[in-house]
């Protein structure tokens, strides 16, 4: 399954290595104060450093195709996301970005092609399985659990909660174990709330939050699942400039802590300014990819996406 990426992806490869060797806690991160308690003890270097593929390129999409009836939403998408990068996925409306996202995360089943995550084929797995492997997404329109408090929203997210088993949550004695784990979890959630500066909203119903706050909540929630790669579907849509700045700061900070991001976004400038690597989709396939400077000057991109005008 892991044959060479297509010519297009190969073209982008050598240029996007700035943070490839799984940046632990060094460089980048514009104003990253590394005392953030959010970053869970993660071990990005589980495998030996020399093996290039799964470690440096956690997410790989090969020849992805998705048809809805007679419509081909994604024709042939191939790209890869390198560890520790902010990778942007852009393209005009209907380019197939969201469908690609949904195929990667198991919401849709791809018609053809493979998705490889950390060296394993995850094509067609159920979305909760994909999430548990460490590939977690957020939604274009924030999907908070409205009638649950903000803190409850966060407490839900972490995996491996013992109290999620029915008998453990009810029976005496074993429940103490659950309570113990919950107390630890509560601390982590409060820290996350503080990191995202929404701790004053902890006991508010999530449905009462403003659009921007919901986006923060969703990012915080996704983060608490301890993912390796985060897929953000238009995280800045409907967010005011000052909050957008804050969200970006958080993302850079987290990236510096070793998280990897794939971001779908409409805002060309935002992607160009913040991502090391940009994938441009058009009419269901990858038009080009590479560092922002290259993509910005690409004739095809200008033609297809910007209507011939930068």
């Amino acid at each position: 399954m892991s044959d060479d990426p297509t010519a297009e992806t190969a073209a982008g490869e050598p240029t996007s290595t700035s943070t490839v060797d799984s940046a632990e806690h060094d460089e980048n991160g514009p104003d990253a104060n590394n005392d953030t308690t959010v970053s869970v003890e993660r071990e990005p270097d589980l495998r030996d450093d020399d093996a290039p593929d799964p470690e440096e390129v956690p997410l790989r999409v090969d020849g992805l195709r998705k048809e809805f009836g007679g419509i081909t939403a994604v024709a042939d998408a191939s790209f890869q996301v390198e560890a520790g990068t902010l990778t942007g996925l852009i393209g005009p409306n209907g380019a197939g970005k969201s469908t690609t996202f949904n195929c990667i995360t198991g919401v849709h089943e791809a018609t053809a092609g493979t998705v490889t995550f950390r060296g394993e084929d995850i094509t067609g797995l159920a979305s909760h399985t994909v999430a548990n492997r460490g590939l977690v997404r957020t939604f274009q329109i924030a999907r908070e659990f409205g009638e649950m408090t903000v803190l409850e929203n966060l407490m839900l997210a972490p995996g491996g909660q013992r109290g999620e088993s029915l008998w453990r949550s009810v029976l005496p004695f074993v429940r103490d174990d659950v309570v113990g784990q919950e107390s630890e979890l509560r601390e982590r959630c409060w820290e996350t709330l503080e990191f995202f500066e929404i701790d004053h909203l902890a006991h508010e119903f999530a449905g009462n939050l403003s659009g921007g706050q919901r986006k923060l909540l969703e990012l915080a929630r996704a983060l608490l699942t301890e993912p390796d790669v985060l897929l953000l579907d238009e995280p800045f849509a409907g967010v005011n400039p000052s909050l957008e700045e804050r969200l970006l700061d958080h993302i850079h900070e987290l990236r510096a802590d070793g998280y990897t991001f794939l971001i779908v976004e409409h805002d060309m400038d935002l992607i160009m300014d913040n991502c090391e690597h940009v994938v441009v989709m058009h009419q269901g396939s990858v038009l080009t990819e590479g560092p922002p400077e290259t993509v910005r000057k690409d004739e095809d991109v200008i033609e297809a996406y910007l209507g011939g005008d930068v």
């Binding site: 308690t37 995360t105 919401v107 159920a126 979305s127 909760h128 399985t129 999430a131 548990n132 977690v136 997404r137 957020t138 939604f139 999907r143 908070e144 659990f145 409205g146 009638e147 649950m148 408090t149 803190l151 409850e152 407490m155 839900l156 995996g159 909660q161 109290g163 999620e164 088993s165 029915l166 949550s169 009810v170 429940r175 659950v178 309570v179 919950e182 107390s183 509560r186 601390e187 503080e194 990191f195 995202f196 500066e197 929404i198 701790d199 004053h200 909203l201 902890a202 006991h203 119903f205 403003s210 921007g212 706050q213 923060l216 929630r221 996704a222 699942t225 005011n240 000052s242 909050l243």
Partner: protein
């Protein structure tokens, strides 16, 4: 999160107090009416026993339904089917074996009562699993269609001649078809006391009742004790479901109710959670069915019509879906005011005046036109209370949906966690500004 400013209000914040006050109020009202009408001790005790019976059962069943609808958002309108399976399986397991097959009698396996109760509960759970496997892929209204169809299938199965009686290993068993089953296993209360080696206590209690009632105190005692047993069951359901809700398990259920896809995207296997919650709720409904009908002497399939399901739904909606405390209060209110209330009122009026109800609506209206005499209409209304009851329930439901869809205690902040979610007191504050957000 007690924002109460007086100790009394603080007390009211506690859920047990809410339930206690409501129950006390209901009982007081019933007793007062009984006193005014000079019911006598026997009448009073019987009326209390009946009231307790229905209060407890509606509380039990709305608690079980709350697990489905209030927590998980699963629209189950086949409650009565699971109740029927519970009591029927229990009956078949615990009935005495048929002695003479030729006489057409239908027997059971003759196992002890507790085995029957367990078997009935498990059977209802298994039926739940059977329904859940294909149906939980469906959302909201489609699940509703499947469950209500299932409950009717259950009723017709018990009604069918095919399963009326058949022989298994020399025993004649069956569901009795349209003529139903006789529940010939004696008083569960007596058996429970005997099983716990408390036969002496039981006799003592009967004797105690005998001091206030001279003739035949045993049925009255049984009724009261069974009521107490049911209240105990409510307590058990309440604790178990409360623990279930206030745990990570309950949190996932709530998340499924709010947005199943998002819960999935966070790595929760929502189908597994839904199946577990559905099966457990169905088993609890089965047990509810058993407790409801095991003392009724006989069961027939046509008791288990969808109407009963909707009674339980109304109870849950009154109390407020999503809250266990609300479910209990809703069950109690429904039983006291809407279910038992009108019948109680009817017997009160019958006791008070000599009701001479006209036989048709026309005859009831005619005197108004003639002499402006409202009494015949009043009598007619009292006489048709059981029919009118349904209209009143419908009106209450419409009113609630319109004015207060969240019920008494719905939409209340009841964080699903096994610990208090307050911030730890000794925390350091790395972000002193507390974080101003936009707007």
């Amino acid at each position: 999160m007690s924002t109460a400013d007086s100790p009394l209000a603080a007390l009211w914040e506690r859920d047990a107090v809410k339930i206690g006050v409501l129950l006390a109020g209901i009982y007081l009202a019933y007793v007062l009416v009984g006193v005014v009408l000079d019911y006598g001790v026997r009448g009073q005790l019987n009326s209390i026993a009946t009231l307790t019976f229905y209060v407890a059962l509606f509380a039990l069943l709305s608690l079980a339904l709350n697990l489905h609808w209030g927590y998980t958002g699963m629209f189950n309108i086949g409650v009565v089917g699971f109740m029927a399976v519970g009591i029927y399986v229990m009956a078949v397991v615990s009935k005495a074996p048929a002695t003479e097959a030729a006489a057409g009698s239908v027997g059971g396996l003759g196992l002890p009562l507790w085995v029957g109760v367990l078997a009935g509960t498990v059977a209802a759970g298994l039926l739940g699993l059977l329904v859940a496997l294909p149906a939980l892929r469906l959302r909201a209204d489609y699940l509703a269609i499947v469950t209500v169809a299932m409950s009717e299938m259950v009723r017709f199965t018990f009604l069918s001649g095919t399963f009326q009686r058949f022989e298994v290993g020399g025993l004649v068993i069956g569901f009795g078809g349209g003529s139903g089953l006789l529940l010939d296993f004696g008083s569960p209360v007596e058996q429970l006391f005997d099983a716990l080696f408390l036969g002496g206590v039981y006799d003592g209690l009967v004797g105690l009742t005998g001091t206030v009632i001279e003739n035949n105190p045993q049925p009255v005692t049984n009724g009261l004790l069974y009521g107490a047993l049911l209240l105990g069951a409510v307590g058990l359901y309440y604790v178990v479901l409360g623990r279930l809700g206030n745990s990570p398990f309950g949190r996932v259920l709530k998340a499924i109710r709010e947005d199943e896809d998002a819960a999935n995207a966070l790595g929760k296997d929502t189908k597994a959670f839904k199946t577990k919650a559905f099966v457990l709720g169905c088993a609890l409904m089965g047990l509810g069915g058993i407790l409801w009908y095991m003392t009724s002497g006989a069961i027939t399939p046509n008791t288990y019509r969808p109407r009963l399901t909707f009674f339980i739904w109304i109870a849950l909606i009154i109390g407020g879906a999503g809250s266990n405390t609300g479910s209990v209060m809703g069950g109690a209110l429904f039983a006291a005011l809407l279910f038992q209330g009108p019948r109680f009122l009817q017997s009160v009026v019958n006791n008070l005046v000599d009701v001479e109800a006209p036989s048709t609506f026309g005859q009831a209206l005619a005197p108004i036109a003639g002499a402006g005499d409202l009494a015949p209409l009043g009598f007619y209304v009292i006489d048709s209370v059981r029919q009118l009851q349904l209209i009143v329930m419908g009106l209450v439901l419409i009113f609630l949906m319109h004015r207060r869809p969240e019920g008494l205690l719905g939409h209340r902040k009841e964080p699903a966690a096994s610990v208090e979610l307050e911030r730890r007191p000794d925390r350091e504050t790395p972000y002193a500004d507390g974080g101003e957000t936009d707007e």
